[in-house]
Symmetry: D2
Subunit: 259 residues, 4 copies
Amino acid sequence: SNNFFLLAGPCAIEGEEMAMRIAEHVLKITDKLEIPFIFKGSFKKANRSRIDSFTGIGDEKALKILKKVSETFNVPTVTDIHTNEDAAMAAEYVDVLQIPAFLVRQTDLVVAAAKTGKVVNLKKGQFMSPSAMKHAVQKVKDSGNEKAWITDRGTMFGYQDMLVDFRGIPEMQQYAPTVLDITHSLQQPNQTSGVTGGRPDMIETIARAGIAVGVDGLFIETHFDPSNAKSDGANMLDLQYLEGLLSNLVAIRKTINQF
Amino acid sequence: SNNFFLLAGPCAIEGEEMAMRIAEHVLKITDKLEIPFIFKGSFKKANRSRIDSFTGIGDEKALKILKKVSETFNVPTVTDIHTNEDAAMAAEYVDVLQIPAFLVRQTDLVVAAAKTGKVVNLKKGQFMSPSAMKHAVQKVKDSGNEKAWITDRGTMFGYQDMLVDFRGIPEMQQYAPTVLDITHSLQQPNQTSGVTGGRPDMIETIARAGIAVGVDGLFIETHFDPSNAKSDGANMLDLQYLEGLLSNLVAIRKTINQF
Amino acid sequence: SNNFFLLAGPCAIEGEEMAMRIAEHVLKITDKLEIPFIFKGSFKKANRSRIDSFTGIGDEKALKILKKVSETFNVPTVTDIHTNEDAAMAAEYVDVLQIPAFLVRQTDLVVAAAKTGKVVNLKKGQFMSPSAMKHAVQKVKDSGNEKAWITDRGTMFGYQDMLVDFRGIPEMQQYAPTVLDITHSLQQPNQTSGVTGGRPDMIETIARAGIAVGVDGLFIETHFDPSNAKSDGANMLDLQYLEGLLSNLVAIRKTINQF
Amino acid sequence: SNNFFLLAGPCAIEGEEMAMRIAEHVLKITDKLEIPFIFKGSFKKANRSRIDSFTGIGDEKALKILKKVSETFNVPTVTDIHTNEDAAMAAEYVDVLQIPAFLVRQTDLVVAAAKTGKVVNLKKGQFMSPSAMKHAVQKVKDSGNEKAWITDRGTMFGYQDMLVDFRGIPEMQQYAPTVLDITHSLQQPNQTSGVTGGRPDMIETIARAGIAVGVDGLFIETHFDPSNAKSDGANMLDLQYLEGLLSNLVAIRKTINQF
């Protein structure tokens, strides 16, 4: 259908029921809009600002839920990994291994992910230029894996703000299919509270720009009740807005497909 | 037609022949695409990095050419002003007075422009946040003129690069109609040579994002032969690409008009 | 004495009494510490965020006060200018003409200042690299005036913060004597209120770093009662702290003079 | 002696002979200048831009060399760790475990380092504000270890440059003793070549500013022959300049100790 694809789901797998509900809800929308859907959920959160932040329900337990989502709804899944051991473990349950932005310069981790043969989704570091992602992609290829993706999640702009550099999309597409993360790229990091802020009111703005520019995929963290989510509540999209958003984006995509 | 409007023309008025040719060429395209067109040309360039840069052909002479373009083709015109005296002088020849980005914090200049009763197009300083433009618009209104526009031309990102913050478009639209300058926002300032660089290959990328986000207008510097232009050659769009670009943008606009 | 020199005084000349009191107070300190002193005061403020900000007590009146300070205490004076006409006018009253940071790219203004034969103090734009100041200095020299200074007042870092790039000091000293403005470089611009914030608690930190790096001069806005000053209260140093600050800085200067 | 302390040594342990030579040379200088010295060397390099960059001579082998340096010269040592397993392993050989800037948000790693009871030197992420380091320090303390240090290695400024925010030094000293890394904070990242550049000509400038501001320690990568070093050659200080540099810095420190 030449549509963009969608990586979507909650920030963290908080339990089976919420994961299944979110997956089912998103799938209904993406089926209707003919958007290839990959269910996203973190099995642990390892880079919280504060030691008392929520980090997960247990690795194995969360990964099994991802597997169940995949089998129940027949959708591929993606999760992020933080150590070399995570790579092999997660690869048994999911289809795409995601390297977090802070970790994308850790060669061992990228290589460990690449060696599983799974798709490796490399998040652009907030501190990296689009062109520097060439080297990250090359590490995947040098490990014998051609299936690298890049996901842009914004670039540091002052201490407490991020910007998306849309010039970077066509630049990174020279190296690999490129995804725009429309929730994290609106983060407001380094808040005094130790809890990252966000601008969910700007999600559609950023998303429209990304689709118009021709991104291959979108990454959205979404939840039935973001304000009660166990992590990243300030950034997730309330699920009730997902269909309206995606309908608009598909219309823009169809338009640019004709160029 | 609910289309976006277009401010376009050469960086500087280099002579009558080139101004007329460019205006005629752009008008043919905008007529076809139903884009309201405002012819743009600077009557002098006052903020060059180097003293030996081209600054103009003479103020009166250039302004008269702008007037002739306006009368010949029945299009409004816009030019930028640098002093309080410029405001009254230019107002006799053009329809829109533009405040350069470096000067948008100069209250006297903004007030002088506002008092002419002309539309005042306020360029967002590279050093200003979108929300800070509220105060610039307010200065126009406090001078008894309701016709203020804002034009975004990018924001400083490190010494030698600029980014467009697309979150700023809806934000500034709360204060005034907002235009995206798709040529200057791709500048690469502070080059060692003393001549500003550019990324004309990224014009369509930035323009598509702007239209998808819903800008009211676009600002494009364009020339039949950018590499031989007397100023800003690194940033202008070659006129041969204008129609293709605008056709795509109009298609995106029509799509988002339906949302 | 090979000491650094000091440009100091209130942001704006609010009246004769305050100007004389501040000058006298600073002079007592600088005499004791053998610091060459240049009295600073703006005769008008032209680039306020908001139209209702204080802009001055009248040009001629303020300039005459500067002259009186100069004659009474036998100190040179500096003021900032905003138009070509200001240059000639102010040159009759003061010894150093200062080009505001926002205006340092305006060639006509720099040339007008240079042609008076006075020292021209060029403030580095918040949007300029240290090396780009070479071109501003060159404009002064090309106008037949060898007496250019550069003053660093920080560089934009995100929308609401500034940083001083201390690597820029030796770089700019290749072009002209270089001054560090330790009050404005701590500004926090683009605040939602339309009034620029500051970090006066960091003045000594920034000043020590500047002196250790070898700046030629310091620029300090100071006032007996910053919180009641008519402009820039958030950035000025309370006069009661000036002697302690300068004593420390002179000690560092003496140390590095021995290297 | 109330002097600053020094973490110094080569970027990577390339072999025993070079490590011993560098340690001996530095120690001779620091003994003379009464600077507490901690020998620094990485036992592996895990975050290179390119997969073909030098990563080390073998973990165990490099750690044993660090131990030998410590025992031979009676100096403490510091090395950086990249995984939880590294923490326990390295703790058997060195006195200070350093968390790389890219990894300082990885809670598990910080906790693993803290639990060894060694000093934990937390490098400020290039993407973090000084105040955000409070949370990193808290993670060490919450793990029952009071011995945290912070090292500033600059902050991202555009894609290819870094700045040191000297306001951050007193801010971070509220949380822990604070070190300035005067070699990495001059990096020029994201170069097209995939090899990070540097500004070694600015080392003394940045170092003087840091000492004047009152840093507790300095971090310097140094080598007899930086241009032939196996990693980070563009940033290391040639050992021949170390004594001159440190002599100047000690003089500034003695001056500010009197304030």
